[in-house]
Symmetry: C2
Subunit: 118 residues, 2 copies
């Protein structure tokens, strides 16, 4: 998906960036397998970059920095669709991954069952 800057601004205006560092929560799901790949945050700029470029951008709450997911690894996440939650402070980003989402090399960040960390 690719939106014009006007549409992107309009979408951003409808969202409530009320989480950490003025963000919405972004749940990232593989559009095909429906596997949940990650959960992270998007500030207004990350949301606008995501929908205007078609590539997943996030706000890093630890590094206080906007980042293009896969910028260094090459594992870009192509955005296919976005869904909005009932109270407009979270988005579900459906992606077509060009590689693993997780920095560990695993396809999903949720690669362990709870019993594996006990």
């Amino acid at each position: 998906m690719r939106l014009s800057i006007e549409e992107a601004e309009k979408l951003a205006n409808k969202l409530k960036f009320r989480h950490e560092d003025n963000t919405v929560i972004a749940v990232v799901q593989d559009y095909k397998t429906k596997e949940v790949l990650s959960v992270a945050f998007m500030n207004r700029e990350a949301l606008i970059k995501t929908v205007t470029t078609g590539y997943l951008h996030l706000w890093s709450t630890s590094r206080k920095k906007l980042w293009l997911k896969g910028e260094t690894s090459g594992n870009l996440q192509i955005v296919v669709d976005i869904k909005i939650d009932c109270d407009e402070d979270a988005v579900l980003v459906l992606v077509k991954p060009m590689g693993p989402m997780c920095h560990t090399g695993n396809f999903s960040c949720f690669y362990r069952r709870y019993s594996e960390i006990l």
Copy 2:
């Protein structure tokens, strides 16, 4: 799933409750259809209640209150499995819903495409 209080405490000790009000992010997914139903927060108490009772409990950051999901509506969410993310500050809760997750009556909180709110 049902854990003993000892196992539940052990699991909680491995997690980093570092989000709003000392929580982990909880992504809730239907274990069968893989539909993402909601994203919310769990503090230590909500996590322990969830894994010891087998029913989804959350921490409401707006009401500053622990709640059993479905307590008033009857739409309890039965927990089937839990996955942990790479940095241990988010969990993916796989549930068998006894009814809609969303307070609007929709099955998922993510019931709208972005284009519907523009």
